[in-house]
């Protein structure tokens, strides 16, 4: 992974782009999971949501 990517001529940190992608992906995944009530199975639902986001972000950053 390059540390900076060129977006329309400006050098932007690649992590930032992955972050934005992870946020969007998180919303896509989070909405059906919340609707189904899966988070209620966890001890600490907000922490579980945050953990999902961390997993997505880390996966995107490490494996691309």
């Amino acid at each position: 992974m390059q540390s900076e990517t060129s977006v329309l001529g400006a050098l932007v940190p690649t992590l930032l782009l992955y972050f934005v992608a992870a946020v969007l992906l998180f919303f896509v995944l989070d909405w059906p999971i919340s609707r189904l009530g899966v988070y209620r199975l966890f001890w600490h639902p907000p922490l579980a949501r945050f953990a999902l986001f961390v997993c997505l972000f880390s996966a995107l950053s490490l494996f691309s």
Partner: protein, 717 residues
């Protein structure tokens, strides 16, 4: 005989004895007030400010303070004027009580923070991990203290926490100049504090007293209207929501009153009493609206009582009679209610109808008593302030648990951001760490921080564009302070305007965080330069700081409704166990204080658009009735087998609440009522035993009903 004693026709015991001195005192004070001057009116010394103007005036004053600090900072060539601007928005408050005292404590806090920062720099400047860890610990401790100390000293703690971050981090990065950095920051922050205090005090000072009297007067009128509707058997959703909002407001006012003028501080106890009585009266009105289903002799008696009571309430509402007269007329209304004994001798009335009748009578009696008590408490509040020994800490002193969580959040924020800073070698890390400390420490003092902070993050992201236009395009073209002021003032005005909406915590936080963002990225200096790269980088840092704050508020002990229900259930169980135990000696006043205080976490979630929060709060309030009856019943000597079974079931339910046990407790209380009805109808009792049986019917019927309404508050998984 006072209204309260008639409402509980039982053998005199410690319970009613504890009530009568207070009721007698209330009557005496009310009589004095009715003779002396009318309730507090605004005077020339305190010009009347209409409520709709408050946000505009506050926004104008804050913008003026901010521009003034910038003018002074530019004139004297201070290093970083943005800290003065930021401080203005951190300390600005719409009400102006004790401004000088608060500013004094804030400056003390600033200097404490500076000293702490210099100590940390001297110890750990070479060891960044230790330094940041110690700094986070200091911020956490200061935030904990600011939440726990419900006195003016809290203001000092708020400031000392993040001032240490503001001074310490630049100081640690450049230890040789740390002392100069410290004096520069202390100057800028103190400038912000002093200018805000001066403008706030000198220009259109708006004291909390006016808001208080206005809210209390609205509460009184609203409650009277609701009571009149309840007596007619109608219900109004809009009025209920409004009164629920009043419940929240009165308690907030009470919490702020101790930080205001002495005249208000002295009334804080009376205000607390009014809040508690208001909750009971509101609950009582609500239980009346379901009363209209009863038929037969009870309905007849109830109509006569209502015919006596409604005009009395209407006249009290319009101010034609005082609380003492209201109390007497409500007493007369109570006397018209049917008694249980003659009803029981009427063979045409079945057992179920008798129980329903006794329940209806009990509710009406309780309603009259609560309303009379509200009238007395209201006039007690309006009378001369009590001589308090000092700033007596009231029952609203925060529990240490929520203060500890606030401290943990405030300490965790700089650690998280600093970890990322160190590992990513982020050039803007210092800004992000400092602002994360500021955000979490300041948001800890505000309500509904979690949801508001998340929304504010998005708002700031979206506001980056407009801010860029203002700062990089307009401001860089401005020459001279006047043009600078014209460019910057609208943004500041809008942010401060949002901060002034005391009824909407979300708007307050939105305004505050946007002002924080604007002050941080503004690059306000004597010579403004066009620096878009710096703007974007700093924007990222600010957004990270706010996002970390929002994250921590959402994850670390979030103020969810579930958590609030658990806390309330714990406290209520303990209070009810004490109430049911004759040996505990708890008085009704103490029980009421404990439960109303325990309702606080539930009250913080109250909003008209949240029916689950409203339902949770209402079931909690119904437990007040349960406790009252339990205390009265516990003082009666006789113990039949049925009552002993009831006591055992109740103890079992309180130790492990679930729906089955609740059902069994209700079943047992119905058995007690049935037994008492059978005794009464048997006709073989003497005079005192007849009275005791009648009161048992009323008490246990009420218990069963209130448990039906409120038992769910205790059954929390």
């Amino acid at each position: 005989m006072t209204a309260l004693e008639i409402a509980n026709p039982r053998a005199p015991g410690p319970a009613s004895a504890a009530r009568s001195p207070r009721a007698a005192e209330g009557r005496r004070v009310a009589a004095e007030v009715a003779v002396s001057q009318p309730p507090l009116q605004p005077s020339a010394a305190r010009p009347f400010v209409r409520e709709a103007w408050v946000p505009w005036i506050f926004a104008a004053k804050t913008t003026l303070s901010a521009l003034l600090t910038q003018l002074i900072a530019f004139t004297f060539n201070l290093d970083e004027p943005r800290w003065a601007l930021l401080t203005v928005f951190i300390v600005a408050q719409p009400t102006t009580g004790m401004v000088l005292v608060k500013s004094f404590y804030r400056i003390i806090g600033t200097f404490t923070g500076v000293v702490a920062a210099l100590v940390l720099v001297a110890l750990f400047a070479q060891e960044r991990v230790l330094f940041l860890g110690a700094l986070a610990a200091w911020i956490g401790i200061c935030t904990f203290a600011s939440q726990y100390a419900k006195s003016v000293a809290a203001y000092a703690f708020v400031l000392s926490g993040y001032t240490a971050a503001i001074v310490g981090i630049p100081g640690a990065l450049d230890p040789g100049n740390a002392f100069y950095v410290a004096t520069a920051r202390a100057t800028e922050i103190s400038l912000g504090i002093i200018v805000t205090a001066a403008v706030s005090q000198l220009i259109f000072p708006m004291s909390l007293a006016e808001t208080l009297w206005r809210e209390i007067a609205e509460t009184r009128v609203g409650l009277a209207d609701y009571a009149l509707m309840a007596l007619r058997g109608e219900d109004s959703q809009a009025l209920r929501s409004k009164l629920l909002g009043e419940v929240v407001r009165i308690e907030d006012l009470h919490a702020s009153a101790i930080f205001e003028e002495r005249e208000l501080r002295g009334r804080s106890e009376a205000l607390r009493r009014l809040g508690a009585v208001f909750v009971e009266a509101f609950n009582s009105c609500q239980s009346l609206t379901t009363l209209r289903q009863s038929a037969g002799p009870v309905a007849l008696g109830a109509d006569e009582a209502t015919a006596e009571a409604s005009p009395a309430i209407a006249e009290w509402r319009s101010g034609r009679i005082a609380a003492a007269a209201l109390g007497e007329r409500l007493l007369r209304a109570q006397a018209r209610l049917p008694l249980i004994q003659p009803l029981s001798r009427d063979a045409s009335v079945s057992d179920e109808e008798l129980m329903a009748a006794s329940l209806a009578v009990a509710r009406l009696r309780a309603f009259f008593a609560c309303f009379a008590a509200f009238g007395n408490a209201y006039e007690l509040l309006l009378s001369a302030p009590q001589r308090t020994k000092e700033d007596a800490p009231s029952a609203t002193s925060a529990d240490w648990r929520s203060a500890a969580w606030a401290g943990l959040r405030a300490g965790a924020a700089p650690i998280l951001v600093a970890t990322f800073w160190i590992m990513a070698n982020w050039p803007d890390g210092p800004t992000a760490v400092i602002l994360s400390a500021v955000v979490t420490a300041r948001l800890a003092t505000m309500n509904r921080a979690a949801e508001a902070a998340v929304g504010a993050t998005v708002a700031v992201v979206l506001g980056t564009g407009p801010a860029f236009v203002v700062i990089e395009m307009l401001m860089s073209q401005a020459s001279g302070f006047e043009m600078f002021a014209i460019v910057v003032a609208p943004v500041l005005f809008v942010s401060a305007f949002l901060m002034a909406h005391e009824k909407s915590p979300v708007a307050i936080i939105f305004g505050f965080l946007f002002a924080l963002y604007f002050a941080s990225v503004g690059g306000f200096a004597n010579q403004t330069v066009y620096d878009p790269v710096g703007f974007i980088n700093t924007s990222l840092a600010v957004i990270v700081a706010i996002a970390v704050g929002a994250l921590l508020f959402s994850i670390v002990a979030p103020y969810t409704l579930e958590a609030a229900r658990h806390r309330f259930a714990r406290a209520a169980r303990k209070a009810l166990a004490q109430a049911a135990d004759p040996a505990s000696g708890i008085t009704p006043a103490e029980f009421e204080t404990t439960v109303v205080h325990a309702l606080d976490p539930l009250r913080q979630h109250l909003a008209p658009q949240r029916p689950d929060a409203v339902a949770a709060w209402e079931t909690g309030v119904a437990l007040l009735g349960v406790g009252r009856e339990l205390i009265a019943v516990a003082h009666e000597a006789e113990a039949t087998p049925a009552r002993e079974r009831f006591a055992r079931e109740l103890a079992a339910f309180l130790s492990r609440p679930d729906t089955k046990r609740l059902e069994r407790v209700r079943q047992r209380s119905r058995t007690v009522v049935a037994d008492a009805i059978a005794d009464l109808r048997g006709g073989a009792l003497g005079a005192s035993m007849t009275r005791a049986a009648a009161s048992t019917i009323v008490a246990f019927a009420t218990l069963e009903d209130e448990l039906a309404r409120g038992g769910d508050a205790l059954v929390v998984h």
